[in-house]
Symmetry: C2
């Protein structure tokens, strides 16, 4: 595989990659290399879910999303998850479980998102970036079901984490992570 | 909003966009503009699910995915879904329902994926692109549950469509679409 860099920005690292496919074809693909991310489904003692109403310029409006963010270079995904939950939602959690991983858009990007459930919450100060426009909400199970049924939740990582939790389909059997 | 184009390729259209956020901040973001896509959860008469085992260079290996593809300019998502189901899986369907939409990666890309359920299937000839490396499988409900529980399904659109179907969380109430 050879890679020719097209653009290296703050978020997007775009290149043209020439590869030999398993079918013997040589092709050139436009690939965005991404550091990966982590997202957190945080549940309070009443089993309410922490969601952010976040302005996303890329999609032209507001989305309901779980607290989430990009991995810093070499950062363990759990550390990212803990940092983003604190900075974006003002929440710290004592108990963490893995909800597995997902890939966002494998046609042109290598982004892997690590999903977690967090419980036993306490408040910490918010520390948002100047370009983060969001408000914190706490949804009951009933509100969550209505929002999902009405198609109001559209963000992929948020949907995958919520659905996995609702289905009890936790990949590592719900074992705590350190 | 002003946009400065960085690169326009076959798949990726990358630009730098300067925008006024709702909090009054002016910022510049790297944004990939994408035509959007459609994906199909096709069920045969035994309720087996059609899945593709597809080689994805971006993520360095094989993924389990629903048949899916990009919208051609101006193309209705249902037309895309029908074309991709035929070309990639060799399947035509008589009955179609919407499974709603999702956004893949709203931090830097505007891609919206339209999800469908297809039933009453019949066979048509495969017509794959030279760069599409994939095999068709049909999973029973039991095999699907095992694959999901073991974390073998990692593609976001595939997970969202499967989970929505399993939860009966169809956004338009499962109404047929034309």
């Amino acid at each position: 595989m050879t890679r020719h860099s097209i653009y290296q920005g703050k978020v997007v690292d775009l290149g043209r990659e020439t590869v030999l496919l398993p079918n013997g074809q040589n092709i050139t693909l436009e690939i965005v290399r991404h550091p990966g991310g982590a997202a957190v489904l945080a549940l309070d003692d009443a089993e309410r879910v922490c969601v952010l109403h976040q302005y996303r310029h890329a999609v032209g409006g507001w989305l309901w999303e779980l607290p989430a963010g990009k991995l810093d270079p070499g950062e363990p995904p759990l550390t990212t998850a803990q940092r983003e939950l604190a900075e974006e939602a003002g929440v710290r959690a004592q108990q963490w479980e893995s909800l597995g991983t997902m890939v966002s858009t494998p046609g042109f990007c290598d982004e892997v998102i690590h999903l977690f459930i967090a419980r036993q919450l306490s408040a910490v100060p918010l520390r948002r970036e100047h370009d983060e426009v969001m408000q914190v909400f706490w949804w009951t199970a009933q509100e969550l079901r209505v929002r999902l049924a009405q198609g109001e939740v559209r963000d992929a990582k948020t949907l995958v984490a919520l659905y996995r939790w609702m289905l009890g389909s936790v990949q590592n059997g719900g074992q705590p992570v350190e």
